[in-house]
């Protein structure tokens, strides 16, 4: 059993401590917005915030995440209002297939939290998620739009 605090709610889950956080979130907590892409922390589809830091949840065990504040894509919008990154994603029509976008949005939200006005170099360094549809041009434009708002 493990107690995880996800999106402000405590989940008591029947999982082994070495279960990757990704699978505890998806299968035990039932929050499927966080996606499986590679399982080896390469692609970023499973990115969540742990204590505000963008983290690839497939590479973190449940035991490491216990006692920490976990935010998934489902918890990004506050009180029914979309997060500014989500709003910008809609305005810029960013997603194509959309599968990587939960992780992409979580990575961008963390970047903007740390650096509200990131340069292109900041974006290149911080956003390393794979998107096979190739939405990068819209991702970059949307980030700059948010930063200049």
């Amino acid at each position: 059993m493990a107690n995880l605090t996800i999106n402000g709610k405590t989940f008591t889950l029947d999982v082994e401590p070495d279960t990757p956080l990704l699978w505890a979130i998806r299968e035990n907590a039932g929050l499927t917005g966080t996606k499986y892409g590679c399982g080896i922390a390469q692609c970023g589809a499973c990115t969540v915030h742990i204590d505000g830091v963008a983290t690839r949840s497939c590479g973190v065990s449940v035991s490491e995440a216990e006692g920490k504040r976990i935010t998934t894509i489902e918890g990004l919008a506050a009180g029914g209002t979309l997060h500014k990154v989500q709003e910008a994603w809609i305005a810029q029509d960013v997603p194509q297939c959309g599968y990587c976008q939960s992780g992409m949005i979580m990575a961008v939200a963390a970047l903007l939290n740390e650096k509200p006005k990131p340069t292109d170099a900041d974006i290149d360094e911080a956003i390393t998620n794979i998107c096979r549809c190739g939405t990068f041009q819209q991702v970059r434009e949307a980030i700059h739009t948010i930063a200049s708002a």
């Binding site: 892409g37 080896i40 297939c97 959309g98 096979r132």
Partner: protein
């Protein structure tokens, strides 16, 4: 707010046809447009016809038969229907009718196959007619109510107006009556110049759910009592499952059952996927890998190289006498290129959820071909068509991979061994990359002859390598020849060669290794564009001529090809010097009915680090339904194509694919993304595709720029094998 909802239809309203597996799915297109019996959606709202349901609150549900995998045709097809329907676009929702419903209704929605960049171009005519027919019926119903001629009424934004009296009503109010009318026989479509919605870059309909994590992909399916399965198929295609030691994992947490799947795979079924995967990883498995285990990249390369000079070959395009002209040429130039296996690497690994009972089998999955998925369900379940269905979900990428149905078949074979329990089969990334349907491997020898005045008089292009159709659709071969191999190199058709050479011979020596090929975004465009467009650059330099001028002289009779090439040349400033340290390359191609070109600007550090600063791209797809989405498809195709060029290439060792995750099969990140400037220049009169054509031109444009920068030719893909990478 536009929203995509999962289809819910009252299946009892349908007359289940006699459609047995093969016969039912092989029926030709016979698309009726409604009446007289009213068919109702699950909420009771009437269908005006198969494409259009109108709810009392004026919401319009547009049915979309093609799949949505990111390419945007869900939105484009809805635009086409809505254009003719004259409905309120802000009240449009969409749904996917299931393949089983299509069979039951004699293929009322036509073809479900979503590949070959044909989602819009091969269904635009009948979906527009579906919208126009529904509009005429809605107007007629209002006219009947008012007892006035329909010709005195007009429709716009879901409001019908009787012009002489000024009376109005809405679609929602007359839908019931309209649904009972006999559809009109004579339906005229709008002149494209009158389009108001088609041609506009309206926002996608499926975005809001994709930014909140609520879109349901196949991997997200949840059914009551569902169990999860992980699978390992013999890593060497053609090999078999010899044995496995079930006792070793029987007691592991959550494990419910270990099952054989066909003769080459084993799956563990558990309460969670994580438990299933963990147990499968611990399961000792013995494979009988068979003869194919002797095959490696080196043996394949040797076999293909032999085909460049010897053995029979299929002729795809020829004129004059290329061999004689080459023999008499004043100067000849020769080069050999190659292009490797590539993995689709969709972000969402293959998966399907199946529920099998003695008299019914249902599957939930992302698929690019709902009807092929249904056929796989029938075959694997051994149940008739009216007992099976496939519920189509959004795809986490397709790129051609999800046109195949191997994962659907596996899910059903597992579910069959646990009747009554829904089983979600998910491939690990490793399984996904081990069992791809790989972009086929080829080599190409090109030989060109010049006369004494440096005029190109002959060209011989001999491709040696794998055919996709021979493996996946042998019935499509023409006297043994795979015509798709010649994409962009044909004398005519929707993928025509853009040059006139007096003596031309383009041929294919077919050699099919055991690695199963597949349709990988752009398909044969990827290698053919590199082969011909890099070689043309070589020839221009051999003739001491500017690459654009050299091409122009050969393209006089190919005005559509030339128009896109000139458009990118002009926009990138080809006639002016590039910025200091920046070098340019050009390429053009035609495929899937569209004409495309690219001009790249790059800089190179230490001869090995390439920074792609900018790519100007042009496409003439005939008609542009949604230019904003076309721009995204162009930029996206460059990411996919350049990822394959730089990082891709699947290696074969001991008969199996070596690269099994993104650590060894990498993909472009945002840091390497060039600025893509798109010119969407529809010239009208034809319907070309969008998702694939541009993928071919980024590669040769960048490689030609690399030569301009370094004086070195790259003729082998991927660049990682030559230690060349993104800067």
């Amino acid at each position: 707010m536009n929203k995509h909802v999962l289809p819910q239809m009252n299946r009892r309203a349908f007359v289940i046809g006699t459609a047995a597996a093969g016969a039912g799915l092989a029926l030709g297109l016979d698309i009726p447009f409604g009446g007289p019996a009213v068919v109702r959606a699950a909420d009771g709202s009437p269908e005006i016809n198969a494409w259009v349901v109108v709810r009392p609150d004026d919401t319009v549900v547009i049915r979309v038969a093609r799949s949505e995998m990111g390419q945007g045709s869900l939105t484009g097809l809805a635009q086409l229907v809505a254009e003719e329907l004259e409905c309120d676009w802000t009240k449009v929702t969409t749904e996917f009718p299931s393949p089983g419903q299509n069979v039951a209704r004699k293929r009322v929605w036509g073809d479900y196959s979503t590949g070959g960049s044909r989602g819009i171009r091969t269904s635009q005519d009948y979906v527009r007619k579906g919208g126009a027919t529904a509009r005429m019926m809605l107007i007629q119903a209002a006219a009947n109510d008012w007892k006035v001629p329909a010709s005195e009424c007009t429709a716009a934004n879901s409001v019908i107006t009787h012009t002489p009296s000024g009376r109005t009503t809405t679609y929602g109010k007359v839908a019931e009556a309209a649904a009972k009318l006999t559809p009109p026989a004579d339906v005229k479509l709008k002149d494209p110049k009158d389009w108001r919605l088609v041609g506009k870059g309206v926002k996608r309909l499926d975005t809001p759910d994709k930014v909140t994590g609520t879109t349901v992909y196949g991997i997200d399916v949840k059914l009551p009592g569902m169990l999860n399965a992980a699978i390992k198929d013999c890593p060497v295609t053609g090999g078999k499952l010899k044995s496995y030691d079930e006792a070793k994992i029987a007691g592991m947490k959550g494990v419910k059952k270990i099952v054989k799947v066909g003769d080459s795979a084993v799956a563990v079924v558990a309460d969670t996927f994580w438990h299933a995967k963990s147990a499968l990883d611990a399961l000792p498995i013995v494979w009988d890998e068979g003869e194919n285990a002797k095959v490696s990249s080196a043996t394949i390369a040797k076999w293909l190289a032999e085909g460049l000079d010897s053995g029979p070959a299929y002729v795809g395009n020829s004129n004059g006498d290329a061999k004689a002209a080459l023999a008499g040429a004043a100067k000849t130039i020769e080069a050999v290129y190659n292009y490797p296996y590539q993995n689709h690497a969709t972000m969402e690994p293959m998966n399907a959820t199946a529920l099998y009972t003695a008299d019914k089998c249902e599957v939930w999955c992302g698929t690019q071909n709902g009807e092929a998925a249904l056929a796989a369900v029938l075959e694997a379940s051994e149940l008739p068509a009216d007992k099976c269905d496939v519920h189509k979900l959004m795809l986490g990428g397709g790129f051609g991979r999800r046109g195949q149905t191997d994962y659907v078949r596996q899910a059903v074979l597992i579910a069959k061994q646990m009747p009554g329990t829904p089983i979600k089969l998910l491939w690990t990334r490793e399984e996904d990359m081990t069992h791809g349907r790989y972009h086929p491997i080829t080599q190409c020898k090109l030989t060109a002859g010049f006369d004494a005045s440096n005029n190109l008089t002959s060209l011989h292009m001999r491709i040696s390598g794998q055919s996709i159709l021979a493996s996946l659709r042998p019935e499509a071969l023409v006297n043994g020849m795979d015509t798709a191999t010649f994409a962009g190199l044909n004398a005519k058709g929707d993928a025509p060669f853009g040059y006139s050479v007096p003596n031309l011979l383009i041929e294919h020596s077919m050699r099919n290794p055991h690695i199963i090929p597949g349709f990988w975004r752009g398909v044969n465009v990827n290698q053919n564009a590199i082969y011909i467009e890099c070689f043309m650059d070589e020839l221009a330099h051999a003739a001491n001529e500017d690459p654009l001028e050299f091409r122009r002289r050969l393209m006089k009779d190919h005005p559509k090809h030339l128009a896109v090439l000139e458009a990118v040349a002009e926009k990138i400033g080809w006639d002016k010097p590039a910025p200091q340290g920046v070098f340019r390359g050009l390429a053009h191609f035609a495929s899937y009915g569209s004409y495309v070109a690219a001009a790249a600007e790059i800089s190179v550090t230490d001869g090995t680090k390439i920074k792609v600063h900018r790519i100007v791209a042009a496409t003439d797809p005939g008609y542009a339904v949604n230019p904003a989405q076309i721009e995204r498809q162009i930029a996206g195709s460059f990411v996919y194509g350049l990822s394959g060029l730089f990082y891709g290439g699947c290696t074969v060792k001991d008969g199996a694919i070596v690269e099994t995750n993104f650590d060894t099969y990498d993909s472009m990140r945002i840091a390497a993304m060039p600025k893509v400037e798109s010119i969407v220049m529809p010239s009208g009169g034809f319907w070309g595709g969008v998702g694939e054509p541009t993928i071919g031109v980024a590669g040769p444009a960048v490689l030609n720029a690399y030569f301009a920068a370094t004086g070195k030719r790259i003729r082998s893909v991927p660049l990682r094998d030559q230690n060349i990478t993104f800067a």
